[in-house]
Every structure is written in structure tokens, then in C-alpha cells.
């Protein structure tokens, strides 16, 4: 089950002007999305592991690239999430 509004935020951020706005003022863009408090907190904390459970992995990877996290850092963090084999299997 995906988190709809988190997914929508990441999806919408593919639009370059919105991505610019987000990088300039993250809070004002976030305010337009009715995110649950814990989801919003995970976004604000750049919590890769928490967000990984709520959104498509392609969108997750796009988001952190867009937000300016170096690829090496994202790889380090996503590898550290150490999802179970069961979860990977479910994603076929």
C-alpha cells in the first residue's frame, strides 16, 4: 500500500519549476500536500528508510536526486535499509 499524498508530492516534483520551488522553500511546497504528520516528519528528516516503505522505489530515488542528495549518499542509505527478502519478492 502506497501513501497517496507522499507519492503525489514526489510525482509532481518531476516538474522542474516545482522542483526549483521545493529546493528554494521546501516548507511552502509541503504545505500544499495533506501529508500525515509522521510522513511529513520523515520527509523533513530525509529519512530514506521510512519513506522507502511508503512510495514506489523509482520515485524515492528520483526524489533524493532532485532534492540534492549525492548519489553515493543515497546508495549508502538505501542499502542500509536492508529490506527483507520477502519485501523484495513482493515487488517482483
Amino acid at each position: 500500500m502506497r501513501d497517496y499524498w507522499l507519492s503525489k508530492l514526489f510525482f509532481d516534483l518531476q516538474d522542474p519549476p516545482l522542483a526549483d520551488a521545493y529546493r528554494a522553500d521546501r516548507k511552502s511546497v509541503l504545505a500544499r500536500y495533506p501529508l500525515k504528520a509522521e510522513v511529513r516528519a520523515a520527509v523533513e528528516a530525509d529519512d530514506v528508510a521510512a519513506l522507502y516503505r511508503l512510495v514506489n522505489p523509482y520515485l524515492l530515488r528520483f526524489y533524493f536526486l532532485m532534492a540534492g542528495m549525492p548519489e553515493e549518499e543515497f546508495l549508502r542509505r538505501i542499502r542500509a535499509t536492508g529490506a527483507t527478502d520477502t519485501k523484495r519478492a513482493a515487488r517482483g
Binding site: R2, F11, Q14, N56, P57, R61, G92
Partner: protein, 275 residues
């Protein structure tokens, strides 16, 4: 009646374009020559229209309406919107409405149920192979968007059946038309997952062997057991399975296999034997 003149597969990893300066000259050359050979074969078949089977990497569809499969029937499609892919020379690509609508009607008659789109953006999944293969002018494009990106997915068995349906629709299309089919994506890779960057070379080589051998039930059995372990991006091998179905499972000839770490993808290129 239309004629199926060729069936092809090619990887489409964005890093082929984005990471070009990080690859070794030998790696770039190997990929370039694989695409060039693919292009040579496609040009030799002289297709008027190319049915391209690729996923949508979140440029058209969202989870408010995510189709398992969608056929693009528009007169025109938009070029790739990815900001890093501005080098692609076409802002729009011509479609082939009569063939696409015939595919849709044939599908619905045969208990398949595609979504239909009059206007699609064709992302790097469609356009990297078209561009790198050097097809210019482009044949008319009928996009078939197969969901390989967000689970749950159509089964590999169903993807094979979809391919057979495409071949049937081509064969029954009323009009003189040379049609090719190009499946893009795969082989093993992983994006945004804990094993991101892993290439499963053992899986890829066995998978290629299965496609070469022309034994569809062995291929489907192999994929049923192993596909989920080859990374979330390996799901795109479903597109190759559809192409295999279109070629009636006759097996393909491998053009190149390049497992390049900086591309993140086990890159494969092939063309099917049409007997």
C-alpha cells in the same frame, strides 16, 4: 494484410546517456556498437511502423489511474520529458492510429483489456533505443506501455499472451504495412531498493540462454522462479517476454550483453528469429 518484419529487444538504462562520461571508452563503444547493430537490423527490415513495448517511468501515469497495459492510439506522441534527455532530436513522434486502434479492438475482442491513450509522452524507455539505434527518419510508433514499475504486475504468462495477441493484430490488420516490434528494458537491475546497483550476471546469462533456446514454457518457468530475485528493474524483462510471444517463442539471436556497473543495468540487445 500487414506483415511482422522483425522483433527486437534493447535495454534502455538512463545511465547509458546520463553517465556517459563515467563509462570507460570501451564500455561506451560496446554499447554504441550494440545499438548500431540493432539499428542496422531494424533498418534492413524496413518497418513502416514500430510497436514499442516499454514501461512508463512515472512520466504519464500516476497511482490515481495506473494501467496494467496501455496502447497509444494518438496521431502524435510527445518526446521524452526528462530534463537530462534534451539531446533527443524529436519534440514529437508520429503515431499510427489505424494500427493502434486495430490492436485495441483485437485485444478487446480476445478478452484483453488495455487502457487507451490518445496522447502519451514517450520517455527514455521508448526514446533511448530509438535514438541510439540511429533510426532517422523514425517509423510511425505504436506505444504499448506495460506496467513493470509499480506492483502488482501482469503475470509473465499474460505478457507472453499479449505478445501473441500483438502478432495476431498485425497479421489481421487490413492494409499493406511492414511492422516491427521492439521491447525495451531489463535485464537485471535494481532502482531505489536496498540492492540498488546490483547486476545479477548469473540471472542475466541464464535468462538470455532461455530466450535464445526458443522453449517458451522453460523460459516462463525460469522467470517464475528467478525474476523476482533479479532486482525490481528486472521486471522489465516482461516486455521481452511479450516480444517472445509475438515471435511465437522461436528464440532470439543475442547481439550483445553488457553488464556495466556504472549503468546499473545488465544491458542486453537481441533480435528474434521469425522462421
Amino acid at each position: 494484410m500487414a506483415e511482422l518484419v522483425g522483433v527486437y529487444a534493447a535495454s534502455h538504462g538512463p545511465m547509458i546517456v546520463r553517465n556517459r562520461e563515467k563509462l570507460t571508452p570501451a564500455e561506451n563503444e560496446s554499447l554504441d556498437s550494440a545499438f548500431t547493430e540493432l539499428g542496422r537490423r531494424i533498418k534492413a527490415a524496413r518497418p513502416d511502423a514500430l510497436i514499442i513495448i516499454s514501461p512508463d517511468h512515472w512520466v504519464n501515469f500516476f497511482i490515481d489511474n495506473l494501467p496494467a497495459i496501455c496502447v497509444g492510439v494518438g496521431e502524435v506522441h510527445d518526446g521524452p520529458p526528462e530534463p537530462w534527455f534534451k539531446a533527443f532530436p524529436h519534440r514529437t513522434l508520429a503515431g499510427h492510429p489505424p494500427l493502434a486502434e486495430h490492436v485495441v479492438r483485437t485485444a478487446l475482442e480476445r478478452d484483453f483489456e488495455p487502457s487507451v491513450s490518445y496522447r502519451l509522452k514517450l520517455d527514455h524507455g521508448f526514446c533511448i533505443p530509438l535514438w541510439k539505434a540511429g533510426l532517422d527518419p523514425l517509423p510511425a510508433v505504436v506505444p504499448v506501455v506495460l506496467n513493470d514499475i509499480e506492483p502488482p504486475f501482469p503475470s509473465v504468462k499474460r505478457c507472453y499472451a499479449w505478445g501473441a495477441l500483438l502478432a495476431e493484430a498485425v497479421a489481421s490488420f487490413p492494409g499493406k504495412l511492414r511492422v516491427g516490434i521492439l521491447a525495451t528494458g531489463g535485464l537485471s537491475h535494481s532502482i531505489g531498493e536496498p540492492d540498488m546497483g546490483r547486476i545479477d550476471e548469473a540471472f542475466d546469462r541464464e535468462c538470455l540462454r532461455q530466450f535464445e533456446s526458443g522453449n517458451p514454457s522453460a523460459l516462463l518457468g525460469f522467470l517464475g522462479e528467478r525474476l523476482h530475485g533479479a532486482g525490481n528493474g528486472a521486471s522489465e524483462v516482461r516486455n521481452w517476454v511479450a516480444a517472445h510471444g509475438a515471435a511465437r517463442g522461436r528464440g532470439f539471436e543475442l547481439i550483445r550483453y553488457d553488464p556495466i556497473p556504472n549503468v546499473y543495468v545488465g544491458c542486453g540487445f537481441a533480435s528474434w528469429n521469425l522462421g
